[in-house]
Structures are given as C-alpha cells and as structure tokens.
Amino acid sequence: MAETLQSLARGFSVALQPAVLLYAFVGCVVGTLVGVLPGVGPLAGISLLLPATFGLTATNAIVMLAGIYYGAMYGGSTTSILMRIPGEAASVMTCIDGYAMARKGRAGAALAIAAIGSFIAGTGSVMALMLLAPPLANFALRFGPPEYFALLLLGLLVLAYMSGGSMVKSLAMAVLGLLLGMIGIDQMSGFFRFSYGVVELGDGLGVVPIAVGLFGIAEVLATAGQEVPPKVLKPKLRELLPSRQEWRESVMPIGRGTVLGFLIGIIPGSAHIISSFVSYAVERRLSRHPEEFGHGAVAGVAGPESANNSATSGAFVPMLALGVPSGPIPAVMLAALMVHGVSPGPLLIKQQPELFWGFIASMYVGNLMLLALNLPMVGIFVNVLRVPYSLLYPSIIMFCVVGVYAVNGSVVDVWIALIMGALGYILRKLGFETAPIVLGAILAPMIELALRQSLAMSDGQYAIFVSRPIAGTLLAVGAALVLLNLVSWMVRGFDWRKRIPLDEHGENL
C-alpha cells in the first residue's frame, strides 16, 4: 500500500505539471462537448481527435484522450436530462427519469445529481483501478497465446451477450468485424488477403476509419434529414442544488452504481453502455417505489450515471494491465498509445511507471475539473445545441475527413470510412448493432495470431485451450454465456434486456 501511495505521489508530480493539466483540461472540455452533441459519441470523438495527439508526448496524449472519454460520459447526461436526447449511448437510461425530472422543474437537481454521482463514481473507480491494475499485470505475466485467445474470444461473446437485441445478430456483427479484420497481410505467412491490389490495404482497414465510419458518418447519414430541432430545457444556476430528500435518495444508488459499473467495466464488452442498463434495472428492483421509475425517480438518474462513469475507469484495467482492449473505445486508445511507441500490457507499469501513474493521477484531477466544468457551465454547453443542425453536420463531416485522413495521410482510409458509414447506416435501419463490428475488426488479427501460435506451441493439439487452467476457465465462462442465452431463448421472457424500456413513460417496466 505504501508503495502504491508513493507511486501515486510520483504520478501527481507528473499530472500537476502545467502542460499535462492543460491537456487534461482540453480533453475534458472537448469530451463534454462530444458528449453533449448527439451522434458524436466518445468513440467518434476520440477517433477524430487521435491525429491531433500525434505531436504530443505519450503522457499528454493519453491524458487528453482519457479526458475526452470520461468528459463525454459527463456531457452525455446533459442532453439526456434537458432534451431527452442521449448525447451518447450510455446516457440512454438517464433520458427516462432525467427528462421526467426536468419536466417537473427539477432539471437542475437532476444535472447536479448526475454530475456529483459521476464525480464520486469516477474518483472511486480510479482508486480501484490504481489498486487492481498492478496485481493484475503481475498475474497477466502468466498469460501465453492460449490464454489471450480465450480472453479475446470471451470478450466478443460477452459483448454479443450484453448488447441490446438478439445474441445471434450481435454475434453475426462481431464475426463480420472479424472478417473485416482479415483484410491485409497475414502476419504469419505474409500472404495478402482480400486486398485486390490496393497496397494501402496491406496493413488492414485500421480502427479509426471503421469507427468514424460506423459511428460518425452513419449518424450523420441517419440524422441529417431531420428538420425540427428538439426543445431545450434550460435550468437556472440557483436550481442546481438538490433537496435533502433527493440527496438521501441518491446516496445508495451512487454507491451501487460505482461498484457495479467498475466490475462491468473490467469485463470485456461495451462496458459503459451495459453498466448503465444493468444499474437502472438493479435500482428499480431494489426500490421501495418502483412505480416512480419512468416518472422522475432520482435513483434512475444517480445509478446509471454513476455506473457509466465508473465503467470508464474499469475498462482501463484490462487495457493497461493486459494490453487487451475491453471495448471499441479502449481499443482506439490502445492504438493511440502504440502510435507513441508505448505497448500497454503487463510490463507497462514496470517499464513506464511515470506514464501509468501520471495517467492515474490525471484521472483524479480530470474528475475534479469535470465537476467544476459541468455544474456552473451547463448553460454554455447546452448552447452548442442551439447551432442549427444544418450547419453542425457539415462540420462533423469535415472533422471525420480530417480525423481519418490524418492517421496515415491516405485517401483510401477516407474511402473506407465512407463505405463503413453507408454500411453502418443500412445496419442501423435494419436494427443491427454496430459496436461488435468495431471490436471484432480490432481483435481479429490478435485472435488469429493467438490461435495459430497456440497450435504451433501444441503441435496442432486443440486440447491446449482446455488443459491450461486460465484458458480453460475463460472458455468455460464463454460457453456458459452461450448456453445461458440458448436457455433464455428457449424459456422466452427470461432475457433481462427486454424488460428495460426505452419508451418515454416506462410502461413496459
């Protein structure tokens, strides 16, 4: 413990340097804007701004990108509460009771509870990250290719299981992503696969064009035709303090959301989205007045908002300790670190302690900044939504082009993003989730390499995956998830995801 505190003190000496503080601040502001703007979620925001970090040091870059990530979590709640538009997917649950509170004249209190809950959850989960990541990294030194293969496969299965809608469709999307990840040079044999003579495809499709296309461009394509801007409820500063009753009602949901969010964050999958859904379901189940959910229940704002912020830190645990992204956003951040020559994984904490502990310390600082930013300045951020969408979406397209082009200086990447945008638009129309595609495309080369290395190690014996305890356990958990889904499919109505409503009044609760 003393060693941890000593390392943290060293981290603060990095995080409190003026340049690092500046980039943390910029990340928080940009992240909040990204969260406020509907359609530009944290994934698209981080992908778009990735090229802007190329000229920075690795520490400044990761601090800024992390600021965007958790800033977007804070900002996403603003539009959910004031306009019933989720700024990003994790804020969907906040829409239900947050907007209901706003219509009752408690918009300020809902915003304050969301911001304070996010702060407590963010700070608590950073502490857990600080304590958990180093021992996990030591444990991960025992990981070989079979363990990595099992872990990556489990990640895809968890994502498919937890995504909204049918597991078959989500798995199909994950496999589609894996297939996209097959494009390019085969790492073991050097064969070109599906590149059709396009040299630029030799390195594969790239995370950024896929993410920007599926999330940024697809969103613009789906929403640019809309004409009537949604109504914005603007709270006054003096209305920001919740009543004593509201405080009492939010304490336990914040605590539960923090723990739940962090635990879900560690598990591979779209953690921040899933955590808010699960937290909402838990709070409603534990509430003495479940009938209030959907009509402005304080716990319906405090729980999910705390959970999605806590999951943000939780998602950094496998990324930093194992070098395995637990979702599309950590995957883009992993790519950002690799651009700077940093390889996250078990050895990161030992080899680059300043980066790791500086990053941890900057998260404490960032959470404080966000609390200070989000409460008094909420009116300013909301004004961004007053920019007509007919001017906003051309700007988003422009940022998409810059963000994609700048990664490799290649027009081919812009074409890929455009094609992915069209694909994402059609898939959305047909009700298919696109997040598993991104994760699949990122994990594909890792999974294939781990599988083939494992078989090379075992002289072609597949038993290596079950004879090693860690790999066997991980695969067993994955198999259990598939079985669980099969059982729930046979015994209709067991699926918890179907019980969580997205409709305004919560009739289906």
């Binding site: 049918s166 469709k169 696969r193 001017l391 051309p394 812009v414 129309k429």
Partner: protein, 147 residues
Amino acid sequence: MLTTDRVGGSALCLLALFVIWESRTLPLGTWRNPGPGYFPVLLAALLLILGALACMMGGGAAPVTGVGWGEAGHALVILGLGAFICLALERLGYRLTMLSALLFLVWLVEKKSLLAAAAFAFGLAFGSFYLFDTLLRVSLPRGPFGI
C-alpha cells in the same frame, strides 16, 4: 413475411458465400496447421450459419416496409459528396475541396443564403486547416499553387 432480420440475415449469408469464394486462392492449411485462408473461411462459415439463424428466427422482427427511408435521399447526397471529397482531396488540396464541399452542402442542399454559406464554408475550411495543419502539425494535402 419480409422482415428487417431476414433481409439483414440474407445479406450476411451472401457476403459469407462471397468470402468463401474469394478465399479459394488462399492456402487453407490443415486443421492442425492453419494457413492464411483458414481463419477467413472459418469465419465466413460461421457468418453463414449466423445469417441463416437470423433469417430463421427473424419472422417476428419489424417488417422491412415499416422502415422509414425519409432521409435516404439526403444520405445519398452526403455519400456522393463524400466520394467527391475522396476524389478531390489530393488533387485540389484540403482547403479547396472542403470549401467547395461545404458550400455545396450548406448553400444548395440546406438552402442557406449564398453569402452565409460562403462565409461558413470559407471559415471552416481555412480555419480547420490552420488549426490542424499549422497549429497541430497534422499534414493535410495542398492543391494547386500550394493552396
């Protein structure tokens, strides 16, 4: 009934068959020693199964005729504009490409006044170039006369 799941599932099946066909040129290897074609074929087979399952189980999904395509025309224009940006970016340079693309979008598609559209397009195209290329040192393409 033709539902969204069935249309999506069928498209995935067709894609899977295409991948299997295209993988014929890649060495498959063996079960114990997979080659570069092994994983794509395995994944395509899995996609075929999942696509077929989505079709089979998709009878209760929303009918495809119920999907609103009101914004599709607008989306097609944006996609066409995206294609123009791709073709022009390294020929006209970032600033001229963005200037013309934004002007087209705001003036002709969004029906704003020419003056407002021109001011917006000029400010954004040149302002973003200054921000990214000059300040953040992200190299963006230049066109004729270094513009």
